[in-house]
């Protein structure tokens, strides 16, 4: 039996963002450039939902909630957000030297159950998650109820001047990347190490896939597939320079009650430069 009060508390404490639906397909935020020098610089970003890596041909997503963490840890804001047919575009003025993080993150509970033999779920496809909605949609006596504690995060990074790490500090919530190798200091001929955390602890056994841009101009995806070790780490040997789509998936049964399954997904776009 579900204790609705406990559930509500959990739901309210969860970080709720309206952008879950963006990630039904592959979604990405691609910076035009990631390593910058000089003064009064801006970076322009393309963002979209599309299974073809960095080819905007499906839908423009919803990026009005994109968050910016400035090099000093304060919150920044993107400007000139435009939503096109297939692609969202926005700009970020680089007002400080150092590394900026752009992200969309959400977490919450998802419920699957049956009613009169029909499979039901909340939130439904295209539906936004909310604590009230959850409480309303899931009946007290739902059959075959399973509740999943899920988190999603999508990020990218840009640096003006020397790379810094303040904006990279993990939140200890959901599945996230800890950049052992700085995400704006990646070179084709060098290995990079990334660590994944689930709710602040090493995420062992997460499946990580990396795909270099330009899949349209080759016959194979040439994806790099890796599994995190007991420390939550992977070591990447790049398939040459370019921008990469990184996707990590994690699942275990160490969920906070009443959830029974904990799952996390993480996406980042990283630029690897030629040596």
């Amino acid at each position: 039996m579900l204790n609705k009060n406990l559930l509500k508390t959990l739901l309210l404490s969860a970080l709720v963002s309206a952008s879950l639906s963006v990630q039904a397909h592959r979604a990405w935020i691609v910076p035009q450039e990631t390593v910058l020098s000089g003064e009064n610089r801006w970076v322009s970003f393309d963002a979209a939902v599309s299974n073809d890596i960095f080819l905007a041909n499906y839908n423009p997503g919803r990026f009005s909630d994109v968050q910016v963490i400035n090099p000093d840890g304060s919150a920044g804001q993107v400007e000139n957000l435009h939503t096109g047919k297939y692609r969202s575009v926005f700009d970020l003025p680089l007002t400080q030297e150092g590394t900026y993080r752009l992200l969309l993150a959400s977490s919450g509970l998802r419920a699957l159950w049956e009613e009169d033999g029909q499979r039901r779920m909340y939130p439904g496809r295209g539906e936004q998650y909310s604590a009230e909605g959850f409480a309303k949609a899931v009946p007290d006596n739902a059959e075959k109820l399973s509740i999943i504690q899920s988190s999603r995060r999508m990020e990218t990074f840009v640096t003006l001047g020397a790379p810094t790490r303040t904006a990279l500090a993990p939140t200890q919530q959901g599945l996230e990347l800890v950049a052992v190798t700085h995400p704006n200091d990646l070179f084709a001929g060098e290995e990079a190490t990334f660590r994944f955390l689930i709710d602040g602890e090493a995420a062992q056994g997460a499946d990580v896939t990396l795909i270099r841009e330009g899949t349209r101009y080759r016959n194979a995806q040439e994806e790099i597939t890796l599994k995190t070790n007991s420390n939550g780490e992977i070591t990447v040997r790049w398939n040459g320079a370019g921008r990469y789509f990184l996707e990590a998936e994690y699942k275990d049964n160490k969920a906070q009650k009443p959830a029974t399954v904990r799952s996390g997904s993480y996406v980042a776009v990283l630029e690897v430069l030629p040596d």
């Binding site: 390593v35 020098s37 003064e39």
Partner: protein, 190 residues
């Protein structure tokens, strides 16, 4: 100068060597670099940005010798392309406050350019014993990028320099570029 007994002289000399003499002496070695920028037959030509620096064998930039860029542009706009010298940018440029006295200068056109520097005199400070690489990197707007690596060892009498030995105990190392750099020669004379 006081006379030192022969017994004392050797340890004293070794000690001085270990300190890696930061005091410029009249015997300080000379380093010269000649670098050729090729003449290119292209529709839109911009003089390349060029950086010349010395790295130790753990790829740490030890000394910047020269950085040629558009320093005189309005609002420091010329700094926008510094990062296109990618290796120099990560090793050194991104932590520097531009311009740097005695290092940065205006871009240079096709032809041979040279630097004459003396160890212990800015910007070329004394080196610790070890293996080094003089690196020259060029990046050109609407053009390409090229980096050349010229290895040498310090002190000059290190056997690792034997292949590049010149008369008088100096060394000479040359590398030739294929796109953005012509011939680059490093000479060090004791």
């Amino acid at each position: 100068m006081n006379k030192v007994s022969p017994r004392m002289a050797l340890p004293a000399l070794l000690f001085a060597a270990a300190q890696c003499v930061s005091v410029p002496s009249v015997y300080a070695a000379e380093l010269s670099v000649t670098l050729a920028i090729p003449k290119l037959d292209v529709a839109e030509y911009h003089k390349p940005y060029v950086a010349i620096w010395i790295e130790n064998n753990s790829t740490k930039a030890v000394t910047n010798l020269a950085v040629w860029y558009d320093a005189d542009m309005r609002n420091n706009e010329g700094e926008k392309w510094l990062k296109d010298m990618r290796q120099w940018w990560r090793r050194s440029g991104r932590t520097l406050q531009m311009p740097v006295d005695g290092v940065t200068g205006a871009t240079k056109g096709p032809g041979e350019h040279s630097l004459q520097l003396r160890f212990g005199t800015q910007p070329l400070h004394e080196l610790d014993e070890g293996d080094y690489t003089l690196r020259a990197e060029a990046a050109r707007e609407v053009g390409g990028r090229e980096v050349l690596n010229l290895p040498f060892s310090w002190p000059l009498n290190s056997s690792a320099n034997d292949a590049n030995r010149t008369k008088g105990g100096g060394i000479s190392v040359t590398q030739s570029g294929t796109e953005e750099l012509g011939s680059v020669t490093l000479r060090i004379q004791p």
